[in-house]
């Protein structure tokens, strides 16, 4: 059994192109598993989220890096895109919306059906931009389709020297009074520490799972 497994891995490694190689190894593993009657792993729960924030805050880069894609050639997002971000205990289907001035008015069109919100902001942006971000966050928190959902607020770009701390952001955004009674998480993050980002997302997934159980509690 192990001998077959090794031969299969060797064949997979021998392929010249790396994407083909990955696919080959994956196919072999699946075949091997099926052959040994282990069956596919149990499906993970899926949640639909919406990811918003101003342009340049880092939404696309964060989501790409969570999907193990390189954030090197990310261009400005225009319009919206959907990404399935896999975690150990859940899969998040994230609708990521571009943050340019001319398309923010279309954000509300994509709120329906969301189970959670990710708001990304640039901690090192100018005063004007931070004010705009604050207004957008407040609108989202008060929007009828989002007001009951858990929010994950990521203060991105913490690696920049001009980045404001989480305490400053919490104060400036008036989160304590405004988001009272709602479930929200505010975490600092930056692209060079993806472990911290994954931890923040795990907290969000916990909130989402809680929500799942709520109706049955009654």
């Amino acid at each position: 059994e192990w001998y077959c497994f090794c031969v299969l891995i060797l064949i997979g490694i021998d392929e010249p192109s790396s994407t083909f190689r990955r696919k080959t190894i994956f196919t072999h593993l699946k075949c091997f598993r099926a052959l040994c009657c282990k069956g596919p792993p149990p499906p993970r729960p899926e949640y639909d989220l919406v990811c918003i924030g101003l342009t340049g805050s880092g939404k696309t880069s964060l989501l790409s890096q969570l999907c193990s894609e390189s954030p090197e050639n990310i261009v400005s997002t225009t319009g919206f895109s959907i990404k399935a971000v896999p975690f150990q205990n859940a899969i998040l289907n994230v609708k990521e919306l571009g943050g340019a001035d001319n398309i923010r008015k279309y954000w509300s069109r994509y709120y329906q059906g969301s189970q959670g919100v990710i708001f990304v902001l640039d901690s090192a942006s100018s005063e004007d931009d931070l004010e705009t971000a604050r207004n957008e966050l407040h609108s989202a928190l008060q929007h009828p389709q989002l007001c009951t959902l858990p929010f994950l607020i990521l203060a991105n770009h913490q690696d920049k020297p001009a980045a404001r701390s989480v305490q400053e952001i919490k104060k400036y955004f008036e989160l304590e009074p405004l988001a009272r009674g709602k479930r929200w998480i505010l975490k600092p993050c930056s692209l060079d520490d993806m472990e911290a980002v994954k931890d923040s997302f795990s907290l969000l997934i916990n909130l989402l799972e809680e929500r799942d159980f709520e109706p049955s509690r009654m």
Partner: protein, 326 residues
């Protein structure tokens, strides 16, 4: 059962690739008296099909000299061809055309690789507002696209009129760096009419379809069309991916009889911009929010076109075009 069959096929393919194929090549060489390279040059007419087959043959060769010949310096090509002919025991006096054909193919192969390196270098260079050259290029972009409307300030909301997201275009060049700016300027400078037409359409493509009242209501809603500059940078991203993945080999090997250069890449960009614009109008999406869906569909269409080895996306290059000095 399906899994087992798939595995079995892959094991067979593996053995074929490793052993049988070489035996087959040996047998055919003995039968026809010609090595694989000769067979390709005699049986395929000049173009992408021939160059790609030569490239595959060289890369898959068991001789290290042949394997490394695809990545030599352009100046060393002649010597490489001589080495190959010697290795394969081909007499250049009996087969004079072979050397010429091989040289042409190798020039294109090596040129494509060098183009990837050049394009990558440009992409990695970030836009720098302190650099006078970069600033001049940005202002040139404005002048070419909007010759009758002077720019009031370097940082102003006017940039949104040509499709940038904010009042400083610098932030929009992330990801593609200077490559994005170079392509946009090339398009605006050398294909000015088309560029200005695309810009004008992008601001109000559905003008003819609305009644006057509806139009007045929608006219100031800039998202009705798409943002010219941002779409341009996205199309640069598309072209860059096509280049790096090797999909553009079909096109370049067909239209550039010598080594492909940056100018060829920029001309391909102009073609892709124009085609994308026509495609956008054909697709008639609701508004810019559908951009990614339309872009993916366009990408798939171009990839399909490029799979045909006879394909040349825009066959309008002169044989020897000197690099435009930016």
């Amino acid at each position: 059962m399906k899994h087992f069959l798939r595995m079995f096929i892959q094991v067979c393919l593996y053995f074929y690739c490793k052993c049988l194929w070489r035996c087959l090549k040996f047998v055919v060489r003995k039968l026809t008296g010609r090595c694989e390279l000769q067979r390709i040059c005699y049986n395929t007419k000049p173009g992408a099909a021939r160059t790609m087959k030569i490239e595959a043959s060289l890369k898959g060769s068991k001789s290290k000299r042949l394997q490394t010949s695809v990545s030599v310096h352009p100046d060393a090509i002649e010597k490489t061809i001589d080495d190959i002919m010697e290795l394969k025991k081909i007499n250049p006096d009996i087969n004079p055309q072979l050397g010429v054909s091989l040289q042409a193919c190798l020039l294109q192969i090596v040129g494509y690789r060098n183009l990837i390196v050049e394009v990558e270098k440009l992409r990695r260079e970030p836009y720098d507002s302190e650099n006078l050259q970069h600033e001049e290029m940005l202002l040139k972009l404005w002048k070419c696209l909007k010759p009758n409307s002077p720019l009031k300030a370097r940082i102003s909301k006017q940039w949104c009129e040509i499709g940038f997201q904010g009042d400083d275009p610098k932030t929009d060049f992330r990801g593609m760096g200077l490559l994005g700016l170079y392509n946009l300027v090339y398009f605006a400078e050398w294909d000015t009419e088309v560029a200005q037409q695309v810009l004008s359409d992008s601001l109000h493509p559905k003008y003819s379809q609305f009644s006057k009242v509806e139009w007045e209501k929608k006219k100031f809603d800039k998202a009705i069309g798409y943002s010219f500059a941002i779409v341009g940078i996205n199309v640069t991203d598309l072209a860059y991916n096509l280049l790096v993945s090797g999909a553009l080999k079909t096109h370049f090997y067909n239209v550039a009889p010598e080594a492909p250069t940056l100018t060829h890449f920029q001309q391909t960009f102009c073609y892709l911009m124009h085609e994308f614009h026509k495609f956008w109008i054909e697709e008639d999406p609701l508004d810019i929010m559908e951009f990614n869906r339309v872009r993916e569909k366009f990408h798939k269409r171009i990839l399909k076109q490029l799979q045909n080895p006879e394909m040349a996306l825009c066959p309008h290059f002169a044989a020897s075009e000197s690099l435009i000095n930016m």
